[in-house]
Symmetry: C2
Subunit: 408 residues, 2 copies
């Protein structure tokens, strides 16, 4: 049986009984508190690793060696219970053939998530209801919700959303880096095409509502997010997004939109993707070296060769990451603007996330410590670490259930 170190937990919780919110909290204390909460990251790109030959989620890896950021030993150390494991699809051509290929790949990714869980029933449990998280936590297992980043693989066949729902999907975002059949992305170099959601995107929102899937506005253009808030019958989530007030990047949202999101009951989950957190210095040599690496990728070089090459480049031209402090600036700003009922965590692990001193899930308790140091309570932390995301999931499924009841 797979268990947390309960002894350490109870001792440390004992010490905490008299903790004053303003005194600095030790990292051990913060870790212990975090362990007592349901801790979810709402955007884990880890499923991409599940289909990498030889990757074993049960074993400990290191970012320095294979660039992975999430596995069971590190989740345990970093007190992460689980989260929304993403079926991410890179966007191909907006054609029948492109859609079909992506549909298949996305279904296989969903299969990989499900087989990860079924292969280790003592370690993972698949979750579809909001209340599942607490039960799974009680059984000392890791929580696996399924989400979709980029609805591109649905093509123009909205009925496929139900297929994925039946596979367990409970959160979905319409777009990724580029505009697609469902609407505008925040980062398409060609600008907006639909001025928000497309007509098909509006159908997608209605279908997600009907099924009880939380809509995710991360990567969506501000106008798309606004359309989603306006049209969705239940609060939306930004599963991994930052504060535009701290860094003016299209992947972040400004305070007005943040407030609109919160007023509609929605949640922003703070993204730790360095390039979206602050302006990082250019490094043309590193860029050039990475072009060489990309060439090897295209030539189909072996993974071990690619990793060796990547480590070599990173040694010669070290990556510059945003600081943990800047991450927390985004975080604290969002908390200041909308409060702890509307902020959570979605650091884009295994999808590009990571800041200095927090390059994998091991160091997540730093966030907890910092928030406690700032005076946020354990109850606030419970909301931030999972309660808020679970609330919007509950609202999505309640609405879907209400439609079924109304039908009878």
């Amino acid at each position: 049986m797979y268990k947390f170190n309960k002894k350490v937990l109870s001792i440390t919780l004992g010490l905490l009984c008299c903790h004053s919110a303003t005194a600095a909290v030790s990292i051990e204390e913060a870790t212990a508190i975090q362990r007592s909460l349901i801790t979810l990251d709402t955007h884990l790109d880890t499923p991409a690793n599940l289909v990498v030959p030889g990757f074993n989620i049960l074993e400990r890896h290191s970012y320095g060696h294979d660039y992975s950021q999430v596995d069971v030993p590190r989740m345990q150390e970093g007190a992460l219970d689980g989260g929304f494991w993403a079926v991410y699809s890179p966007q191909g051509e907006l054609t029948k053939g492109g859609y079909e290929q992506s549909r298949d790949t996305a279904l296989l990714r969903a299969l990989a998530i499900r087989t990860m869980v079924s292969a280790s029933p003592q370690v993972f449990e698949f979750a579809t209801e909001s209340a599942d998280a607490e039960k799974i936590k009680k059984n000392s297992k890791h929580i696996v919700y399924m989400s979709m980043e980029n609805a591109y693989p649905l093509g123009t066949d909205i009925s496929l959303l139900e297929t994925f729902y039946k596979f367990g999907l409970r959160m979905a975002g319409p777009v990724h880096f580029k505009n697609n059949q469902f609407g505008d992305s925040s980062t398409d170099p060609s600008g907006t095409q639909w001025d928000g959601l497309s007509p098909l995107g509006e159908e997608l929102v209605a279908e997600a509502n009907r099924l009880g899937i939380v809509l995710d506005g991360s990567h969506a253009h501000d106008e798309t997010v606004k359309d989603m808030i306006r049209l969705s019958k239940t609060p939306i989530i930004l599963s991994h997004t930052g504060s535009k007030a701290i860094y003016d990047h299209p992947r972040n949202v400004d305070d007005a939109l943040l407030k609109q999101l919160a007023e509609s009951g929605g949640v922003i989950q703070m993204n730790a993707y360095s390039e979206y957190l602050e302006k990082l210095p250019d490094d043309p040599e590193r860029k050039e070296a990475y072009k060489g690496l990309m060439k090897l990728v295209k030539e189909g070089s072996e993974r071990s060769v690619l990793l060796e090459k990547r480590r070599e480049i990173d040694h010669e031209h070290p990556a510059v990451k945003a600081s943990f402090e800047v991450y927390m600036e985004h975080f604290l700003h969002a908390l200041n603007v909308v409060g702890p009922k509307h902020v959570g965590i979605g650091a884009d692990w295994d999808g590009g996330g990571g800041v200095d001193d927090m390059m994998d899930v091991v160091n997540l308790p730093k966030i907890t410590k910092r928030l406690l140091d700032e005076g946020y309570s354990k109850s606030d932390l419970a909301d931030i670490w999972g309660g808020n995301a679970l609330r919007v999931l509950q609202q999505a499924s309640d609405y879907a259930a209400s439609l079924k009841t109304a039908k009878k």
Copy 2:
């Protein structure tokens, strides 16, 4: 680790060294020989049980209690290594909505097969290549190929065949009890509609060929089977079918078609579905009682209640099954007509199969004993029990590979 009783096996094989083909073979000897072969049933409807709450394939069940016919303990006892585990779809309306619902259910069934394997990696291994069977057998695991009975869930979107291929599908039959979008069934009360394959069915054949999926003509109308033989670039299989010369039923094939099948390299796998093996006496009282049971099914009664009721009916009005001898008549007839390179076993377990004295997989060695007694050699048995089915699978994948090579 999960192993056969190797001691018993080696002792018994030792005894067999001087076995004369004409002397009667003991059931223990037959079992030992069967254990030494790759033994596949090409139509296991067992996946339907995988989605029954509480059904555990690793535990021993009994036909008398829950009507199941396949589980790991019984496979071990009956020396069945595995086979083609079917994604079976009952046919709904030939409409967009009907297709979509069935597509989802079929994908979930494929998921159930894959999670069965991933949940017990010491017991099962998923197979996609013909050569996998031998490797899996050597590792003392059970062999799981995936097949599809009724292509109805593909709707009119042939590209979905590749989706299932990617899930591991390696055998597919176009139709079931009724005609559908792909062609004519052997048992549609309205008669033929397409005079064989429909134009979409012809596309299905070409796509199966392109992918390397074995085409299965069981349940197909004779004209459909003829079309499949004519159009398919590789030999087809009848995964669970009988001999019309023994019993004139549409689900059986006559000698002319059998010969045509064999001449094209194909294989018939002998079906143990009693109603197709001989004319069974009518039992109006039993029929009436079953109508009552069906009413309970429709009302959504609990499974335990339904099983109790079914056992009660079967006690009061016992089912009449065909005899094992009649099954072997079909079997031996097919062997006489086309020889042991074109006959195999597909008894329709968990799909209606079963004859007196062989109501589950435990008694499979009776077949081996009977064939040995008839003078068939161990080498013939190797073909019948798996070699023939694996040959047509190899031919299907070779053809698909040749297309890829030609393309380059």
